[in-house]
Symmetry: C2
Subunit: 103 residues, 2 copies
C-alpha cells in the first residue's frame, strides 16, 4: 500500500519568490517528515484538459495511512504545516491525501 | 526520468455511473496505451488544504516525454481520449502532464 499526499499550487503572483521559498525552506522542512518514502515535484506542467495547468505539483509518499498521520502530527509535521500556511499566501494551493492502488 | 499524466476528477452528478464507466471502459482502454509504465488511482481523497478534495485522481507514467507523446498520438491514445471526452460529461476534469523529479 502507498499513501500519497498531493499538493497542487496555482501560479504565484511572484514566481521567483515562491520558487525560492519552496526550494530553500519548504523542501528541507518536508524532507524531514518521519517515514517519508518519496517526495517528488512536477514543474512546468502542460495542460491536457480543463484549462490552465497547475504551477507546481508535489507528491509525498508514505507506506501507510497511520505513518502519514504520525508524520503530520510530529514536530516536523507542524513545522511543515506552518510553512505551508505561509506558502499559501504566495500561491493558492489545494492539497489532499489518498491511498494509491493499481488501476 | 519519469513523465506523469495527472487527471483530477471532481465529484460526478452520478457517482455510480461514473465509477462503472471509468472501471469498465476507461481503465481497459488506458491500460493499452503504448509504453505505459504505471497506472494508479487514488480514491476517496481527504482534503488537507484548499477546500473539497477531488473525487478521483489518476496517474499514468511513461519513461520519457517522447513515449508519452507517442502514446497520445497512437490509435489507443485516440480511443482513450475519445472516452475521456465522454467521461468529461459525467464529471469535470482537469488534467496535465509533467516530468517528475526528486524534490
Amino acid at each position: 500500500m502507498t499513501v500519497r499526499f498531493l499538493a497542487l499550487y496555482e501560479t504565484p503572483a511572484d514566481p521567483a519568490a515562491f520558487d525560492r521559498h519552496y526550494r530553500e525552506v519548504h523542501v528541507p522542512l518536508a524532507r524531514r517528515l518521519p517515514g517519508l518514502r518519496r517526495y517528488v515535484i512536477g514543474r512546468d506542467p502542460a495542460a491536457v484538459r480543463g484549462g490552465a495547468p497547475c504551477y507546481l505539483i508535489a507528491e509525498l509518499e508514505w507506506d501507510t495511512l497511520e505513518e502519514s498521520h504520525a508524520a503530520f502530527a510530529s514536530p516536523e509535521g507542524h513545522a511543515t504545516a506552518a510553512d505551508a500556511t505561509y506558502l499559501q499566501e504566495l500561491a493558492p494551493v489545494r492539497s489532499m491525501i489518498f491511498t494509491v492502488g493499481e488501476a
